[in-house]
């Protein structure tokens, strides 16, 4: 066996995984998106751009996703950062593990069940009822974009906390002392040392959450109540209810392209921010 043959053999499992998990489904979607819906639903082979021409019918889903996914990501990041900072920098090491576990605990139950709790909290007999008692009437929370945003932040917070926590925990605490020693006040130290050195964690967290949010359907379904829906909900509808696979494939493929473009641009920007450093990497 030559060296290059051996290399091929070693790469084979990864290549197979790549083909089965990524290339194959994507190809199917790509091919389907040029087809037509059969009389009883499903897919009939064809070559037409009709499905893509029909995309504006789902404009609202795209609009909601493209607004709430980035807003949710940023909101989750803004809440996760102080939390991760407190855990990594301020907490006594002997409490760290316990507190970290508390961050993970919500992951042990399904998002479905946890979202139901929010349906109650935001619903008529929850927060609005409380507000009414203090004289603020007519507040509607459930089935609004706000409710979906709350659900997103709540659901994805742990995923954001972890990478940020890791990058802050890894940060050499003597760098903070060195900064103070050189005359920087705490806020300056945070802005010029802590923050730049935790960017990799923030970048990773944002990317993870953003990608998952682009395909989210459960939270909008539960907390948006059919009024605030994502592309994910449109796909559920097209594939499972109306069984229009061709149009569903066109929608799905468009979403994938949008995601690829966004993530590529994002990686470029982060790479530029971190240019020339080998002590950090994105993901």
């Amino acid at each position: 066996m030559t060296r290059s043959e051996r290399n091929w053999l070693l790469v084979a499992p990864a290549a197979a995984w790549f083909v089965v998990m990524l290339v194959l489904p994507l190809s199917v979607i790509f091919v389907f998106s040029f087809g037509e819906r059969g009389p009883a639903g499903g897919y009939v082979p064809a070559f037409t751009l009709e499905q893509y021409a029909n995309l504006p019918a789902r404009f609202t889903a795209f609009k909601n996703t493209m607004i709430l996914a980035p807003v949710g990501t940023i909101a989750a990041m803004l809440i996760a950062y102080p939390l991760a900072y407190q855990l990594a920098v301020r907490t006594d090491p002997k409490w760290k593990t316990i507190l970290l576990v508390l961050v993970i605990v919500p992951f042990w139950t399904s998002i479905l069940i946890r979202s139901y709790a929010w349906i109650f909290i935001l619903g008529g007999r929850g927060l609005p009822a409380l507000l009414e008692m203090v004289g603020i009437e007519g507040v509607r929370l459930i089935y609004t974009p706000f409710a979906v945003l709350i659900g997103i932040i709540y659901g994805y917070l742990p995923l954001m906390v972890f990478p940020i926590y890791v990058s802050l925990d890894r940060l050499d605490k003597r760098l903070l002392e060195a900064s103070a020693d050189l005359g920087a006040k705490p806020l300056r130290t945070f802005l010029t040392v802590t923050l730049p050195l935790s960017i990799p964690g923030v970048a990773t967290g944002c990317m993870l959450v953003f990608i998952l949010l682009m395909g989210e359907f459960l939270i909008p379904a539960l907390l948006g109540g059919g009024k605030v829906f994502f592309v994910g909900n449109a796909l559920v509808d097209l594939f499972l209810q109306s069984r229009n696979w061709a149009f569903g494939s066109a929608v799905a493929f468009t979403l994938i392209v949008i995601m690829l473009v966004t993530v590529t641009v994002y990686m470029r920007v982060i790479a530029r921010l971190q240019s020339g450093r080998d002590d950090v990497s994105i993901m």
Binding site: D172, R174, L175, E177, A178, S179, A180, D181, L182, G183, A184, K185, R188, T192, V193, P196, L197, G276, R277, D278, D279
Partner: protein, 379 residues
Amino acid sequence: MAHIPVDLQYTANKQSDSRPPIAALRNVSKVFGSVIAADALNLSIAQGEFLSFLGPSGCGKTTALRMLAGFEAPTSGDVLIDGQAVNDLEPYRRPVNMVFQSYALFPHLNVSDNIGYGLRQRRPRLSRGEIAGKVGRALEIVRLTGFESRRVWEMSGGQQQRVALARAIVNEPKLLLLDEPLAALDRKLRKEMQIELQDLQRQIGITFVLVTHDQEEALSLSDRICVMRGGRIVQTGSPQDLYDQPKSRYVADFVGTSNFFDGTIDAVVDGIATLATRSGLRLQGAATAGLSVGAAVCLSVRPEQIRMSRDAVPGGLACTVHNRIFLGEHTEYLVQHPALGTVNVLTPRLIESGDMSFQTGEQVHINWNPGRALVLSPD
């Protein structure tokens, strides 16, 4: 001490005595839980001097330094800088800079941004030009001109060390604190950097406080050394003082090497004490203050103070040459005495030449001038 003429160093010390103290510790203690890391430290640091804290691991050197830098507040006592108590003054308000043991350079900044970091914190702000000028001069001093835009992790250990040094001195601190700055370097580089450090200190005239557990480093660099033990300062003095007049066996042992013989004082005549060892031998040495007849003591005789001859001498001890180690300009002999055990003798090449060279197994007699041996407290 190879590169400091002895008489010059004495004048340096005399000067330092008259200079006003730039910093001081007054009865400073620091307790961590049940550990007393610093125990009633008293010390004045003179303007422009090179002071070292010397002691074994865990004796509280870093703690003392960190209290000067402001990273730890003393549990009791006062830290003074420029005559002001600064116990609770934050590190970023102190005119003090520190070179950390592992340098703690900022990995996301290049060399000149690392060095300019302290300057950029100044209020009122310095102009870009001023900062660039000062950074350039600091780079010149540490001989790193041309490395401005290098990433710090692309530098060798010695270069990183110099960046750390430049980052501190560029701020012209009143006090420069160095926590084992050379410990991570190999022996050769450490020697070079020691010389550079000393030249630098003379050149810029900043007060240096160095922490080290390397006695050679402390001896060769410092104007004054603080020997520490278990959180206490046991003796402070110039390298010569500590070497020639140690106040305890601990200091004599830590600063240089010595032979120690335990015994009790039998008599003191004209400042010369005679002590009796347990085996009944009578040995003589200069009595130090506070020791009286009957006290358990320890006689310290430096290897280079011992004379060795083939012929019996009055008061000499008969020994067998056990080992001979050629050291270039000196020869070290390990000789065996039946009661005292192994004695270390250092003879200069000059005397040792010709028939004065001794062979392993040979019978010899050793003696010393009682005035050049010290009777010390045994701890």
